[in-house]
């Protein structure tokens, strides 16, 4: 009995350490900050559109900085964002000609989620760096009570998301990305954008079909 819980604790710690390697903090100048996750080794970081949108001037996305798990602060450009999906794609800039060390997160599948399965969200709630909360999937899909935008896919999770979690990874029991923490629906229910929605948006942007040309690359 106690062995089981000890093993569970040890696995949980290991999993949190692993996910934290791909977790970044996204700062959008004076307009606030949130979390993000390293999506690809070439410097793609995804976060919520609302994390980078506070800066509503002529150049949305300017002044973006990404703090990596090792403390390195890198400048990032806004590659694309979609306010309806609430997803933004950032490109981490090179530092002295080379990309900082990045650990992309393992990809999961959000199309086959089961109500009841275990999940963990990581982020920087209230500015606490690299914090973890765990719960289960309440449900996934378009017909969730209190989900904003009735026709959209969401993942509802029974864990407490707080300001600063936005844009951070929601992972399954193997540390695979299944969603992006996006908002709360009540105090104890979190809503996440499913990773398949993020993946499709990233693919469209990289194929030149959406968003990429609309923004200046940040030059600070």
């Amino acid at each position: 009995m106690t062995t089981l819980l000890a093993q569970l604790n040890s696995d949980l710690g290991e999993l949190a350490d692993e996910v934290r390697r791909s977790l970044v903090q996204v700062s959008a100048g004076r307009s606030g900050s949130g979390s993000g996750v390293v999506f690809a080794a070439d410097g793609l970081v995804v976060t919520n559109a609302h994390v980078v949108s506070g800066n509503r001037g002529r150049h949305p996305g300017t002044g973006l900085r990404v703090t990596l798990p090792n403390g390195v602060v890198a400048v990032a450009g806004l590659l694309a964002k979609d306010d309806d999906l609430d997803v933004a794609i950032l490109q981490v800039e090179r530092i002295e000609g080379k990309l900082p060390e990045l650990h992309p997160i393992k990809m999961g599948d959000s199309r086959e989620l089961r109500a009841g399965q275990w999940v963990m969200a990581m982020g920087h709630p209230w500015g606490v760096a690299g914090a973890a909360v765990a719960g289960i999937v309440i449900g996934a899909g378009p017909d969730l009570p209190e989900a904003p935008g009735a026709a959209k896919d969401w993942i509802a999770v029974d864990l407490a998301l707080r300001p600063g979690h936005s844009g951070g990874p929601l992972v399954d029991h193997r540390g695979r990305l299944i969603g992006m923490s996006t908002m709360m629906a009540g105090l104890e229910v979190g809503m996440a954008v499913p990773v398949h929605v993020i993946g499709e948006f990233v693919a469209r942007v990289l194929a030149g079909e959406a968003g990429a040309e609309k923004y200046d690359t940040a030059v600070v």
Binding site: Q7, D11, Q117, G135, D172
Partner: protein, 298 residues
């Protein structure tokens, strides 16, 4: 890394999946639908009273996607339960957990079906206690509190254990801000009453009362420190017809001592209706025996 976390995750999702057959969507109000539990293979559904804001035009949606019209057989607002009859036959009846198997600290899942699919939240059993009474006076056989989140539309749905066995019916309306589960024993009792009478029958005297200390000597003699002082006697009520007056102190009802309000409630179940009942009162320092015939609770 071991497989403990994967096993846990799979087991939780399996528990939800295995319970899914046993819960239905209940459409009985204008806003979000709520949840109900398949009671038997003959189409009976038990749900929460407060989620049925109308008596007619109620629909029930099953796991297989079928939605059928339901007839309201009865409600018990005091325990926040209601019983529906549907034409559905052969729905899978859930497996119920043995009440003794529950312990504080056990994992538990609250399930609901506000839409097409089953939704789940997780927590642990926070408190198990003895029988209690809701603020509306409804007797509940066991206090069962969890720290599960009552997601919108979860009222009327089941609490299930880690094996997906049903433990009781969740209601967010019985105690504010706390997730309370009405245990199977209470469901059995209330469902039986609703099926037979359309309501939960409770006997009624027509008195208002409050606990009061008995004189020392009498308390010692009876082995009972308190009785119930009658602070109102309804006109034309069973109590008035039996000769009870304002200011009398109720000491026993039948053979049972009446020390607290609960003793009074517990002795006025449906079986008492219309049957003569001896009550002993303290009036002017003397014990007096009277006979009352309780009526059905209006």
């Amino acid at each position: 890394m071991s497989t403990v976390l994967s096993d846990l995750s799979d087991a939780l999702a399996d528990a939800v999946a295995s319970a899914a057959d046993g819960l239905v969507r209940v459409e009985g109000r204008d806003r979000l639908p709520a949840t109900g539990i398949v009671w038997d293979a003959e189409g009976l559904i038990v749900t929460a009273h407060h989620v049925l804001e109308r008596d007619e035009n109620i629909n029930v949606g099953f796991q297989d996607g079928e939605t059928v019209a339901a007839e309201l057989l009865g409600r018990d607002p005091a325990t926040d339960l209601a019983l529906l009859r549907t034409p559905k036959r052969g729905a899978n009846v859930p497996t119920w957990a043995e009440p003794e198997s529950l312990k504080v600290g056990h994992l538990a899942l609250a399930l609901g079906r506000p839409g097409a699919n089953v939704r789940a939240t997780m927590g642990i059993i926070s408190a198990l206690g003895k029988a209690w009474r809701t603020s509306a006076g409804g007797p509940v056989d066991r206090y069962l509190q969890t720290d599960t989140v009552m997601y919108p539309g979860f009222s009327g749905g089941p609490l299930v254990d880690a094996q997906g066995r049903f433990v009781g019916l969740n209601s967010s309306a019985l105690v504010r801000g706390v997730s309370i589960t009405v245990p199977a024993l209470t469901l059995n009792r209330v469902v039986r009453d609703l099926q037979e009478h359309g309501s939960v029958r409770r006997a009624y005297l027509g008195v208002g009362a409050q606990p009061t200390r008995l004189p020392d000597e009498l308390a010692k003699e009876l082995g009972q420190e308190t009785g119930l002082l009658l602070v109102s006697v309804e006109q034309g009520s069973a109590a008035e017809e039996g000769g009870l007056f304002l200011g009398d102190t109720l000491v026993t009802l039948g053979d049972a001592p009446v020390r607290h309000m609960d003793d009074l409630f517990n002795n006025l179940d449906g079986e008492r209706i219309g049957k003569p009942l001896t009550v002993r009162i303290l009036r002017g320092g003397q014990l007096v025996d009277l006979t009352v015939s309780p009526v059905s609770h209006p």
